[in-house]
Amino acid sequence: MEGLNFTENRSLIALLAAILPLFSFVFILASKKGGGANFALSTISLSFLLSIYLFSQVWNAEPEHKQLSWFLIGKVQFYAGILLNNLSVLMMVLVSGISVLVHIYSREYMKSDLNIHRYWAYLGLFCFSMLGLVISDSLLLIYLFWELVGFSSYLLIGFWFSKHAASQAAKKAFVINRIGDLGFLTGIMIIYTQFQTLDLARLFGDGGLISTSSVENGLWISGSQQMPVIWLSIAGFAFFLGAMAKSAQFPLHTWLPDAMEGPTSVSSLIHAATMVAAGVFLIARIYPVFDPLVLDVMVWIGAFTAFMAATIALTQNDIKRILAYSTISQLGFMVMALGIGAYSESIFHLTTHAFFKCLLFLAAGSVIHQIHHYCEKNSHDFDYQDIRLMGGLRKRMPFAFLGMCLASAALVGLPLTSGFLSKDSILIRAFEWAATREGVVVILPWLMVLTSWLTAFYIFRLVFKVFFGESREIKEDKLGHLNDSPVQMTYVLLILSFFCTFIVFAFNPASFESSWLWKGFQVSVIEEISIFHWMVPLILNFGSFVLIFITYKIYVLDKGLQSIEGTWFYRISNREWYFNEIYNFMFIRSVERISLLTYRFDRTVIDGLVISMATLTTTISFIIDWFDRKIIDGLVNATGSFSKYIGRFFRNFQSGRLQHYLTTMLLAVLSFFILSYLI
């Protein structure tokens, strides 16, 4: 490791920011049980401060790229290094910032847990891998951190490992992410074969290898290297598969709702704000590799995922599951945006979504936390994540209510919120994109609008059910125990609420073009059509308000629509489009069955072959043994026994009786005489 020569200290700072949480992981794991909160918080805070500093240095400045040699295989040198540009510093601030908030929140939220030191350690590992992921400069390093992120998510989902569902969900998350990893790895193999390097700057930078490679006569050519052009598309699909798994896109989305078995703070940090955004981040980072075919698929997958998840969220009753599906739906928006080329809009939405979705989870978490305590105090037990059993919490938990309302408004994209800026920008781009095309794609923006309206319905259904009306389970006379969460948690909610407003991202609440963040990534290639810029937000918000009003009527004033339960639409939505059942049947069962079959094959056929060879050999040897004993040895024995029989015959004459001897003599003499007479 000689020549650690980071001449400029920006890269060193980035390295330090990433490594600090790793220290926290190692030290807390090595330390005694029960502690670690302060250490974890201080390391991640330091990390956050460093990220802020870096952000101020790198944002809209010259990108920074420093690397040193990692290892050499054959003649190919692999480097490990740090690549800092707008995207990575933005992600750094986002990840470390939200982590700090979640750390503060968790001090209270996880206080009573016995194995809390593991929790802090795992959070440290997660922050390390996530920060490492965003600053890495080569595909191999990104892949490394990519899987580490999945691993820390596995640990955190399965944090309460004695719960069966939690360990099940952790396994499911890891295995499904592994499917994506295979895609990622395949992509790496293709890129490496084509370009003999995995360095991001060399591949995707200005005048990078990807942009100089060309497609001619069905061949994908780069320098002297060439392969059929189909491999370019396959590479795109492969990377996209990786992103799909991590960002929970159809058909690899089923792990995310199950991942809600982890602590809510974890769901908020990992499964809403940061890790699931890694897929979108990956697509953004290697954007040039995707060819039009892949981008089209991306559009449809994203759009379908957004729509499907929204329909599922309509009828869920577990508060965290609704939010999980909402996350999937929003990630679908981002993926779709990337597919249509709305690069900056997608990153913008990623950022705003991180804040408001984090807030949604944390507010939900404080509701769950308080109800949990209420249950413990009153020794009253019910499912404290079921929104059907909640109600009327508005007055008891005003801060949670405030946070939840703001975040929901941002999620729906109501004016004056951050979501209004980012989400509407995506929809505007979608309309613009569709306007340049013909055919079935025209329905795509309308599908997204519909999805957006559904969002308004399901999220306000949640708000109204939890915070309005009356609870069936929580009795009014005992409500004295139920109030807002401890101050630490409430502060976090307030800070996040601030980040859900437009002011953080743009001074003009109506125009996303004025956002500093959007400008930071502006590479848009879509032709602007100004009519959409005021029409789309208008239609969208009008529809949203109408739907919120309807929701209010249904769930607060209790009017109509309750009979929808039992219809086929309700069933499909409630059972999450039966994906789990289908996968269970198609993949898990069949793999299990195939594995049992192969094992039986192994035991009976292959080992059976070996054993039957052995049996054959022993049988042949038995036959030979028989032949040897009976035939060959038999001949020898026969000579022996022949003389024995003769001896035995003559022995008979030796009877010891004189008269016999005499008789014999007589017979002998007589026969002698007879013979001599005859001859």
């Binding site: 010891g656 004189l658 008269q659 007589l666």
Partner: protein, 101 residues
């Protein structure tokens, strides 16, 4: 004159009777008697063939000699039989088979 063949027939008959007795009797005394029969058959032959040696009477002489020898033999044989009886408590020759291998 009695032809010589008559003597020989009688002698052969005697011999055969004696032989039969020797081979089949279950009593040593009877076997001994059988032996006497055979000796006497021989003696009879001597006497009968003495006809052809009238001058020196060799046939008669041999007959006398054989009779004496037979008497001595019988004495010895009886002594053996007595001893056999003492030892085996039986004079059945089939019982005295200690010569067997």
């Amino acid at each position: 004159m009695i032809p010589i063949s008559h003597f020989m027939l009688i002698s052969a008959g005697l011999f055969c009777i004696g032989l039969y007795a020797v081979l089949t009797r279950r009593n040593a005394i009877q076997v001994l008697i059988g032996i006497e029969f055979m000796i006497n058959a021989a003696v009879l032959n001597f006497v009968a063939f003495g006809r052809y040696d009238k001058i020196s009477g060799g046939g008669q002489m041999f007959a006398l000699f054989a009779i004496v020898l037979a008497a001595a033999g019988v004495a010895v044989a009886l002594a053996i039989i007595l001893n056999v009886y003492k030892y085996f408590k039986s004079i059945n020759p089939t019982k005295t088979d200690t010569l067997r291998d």
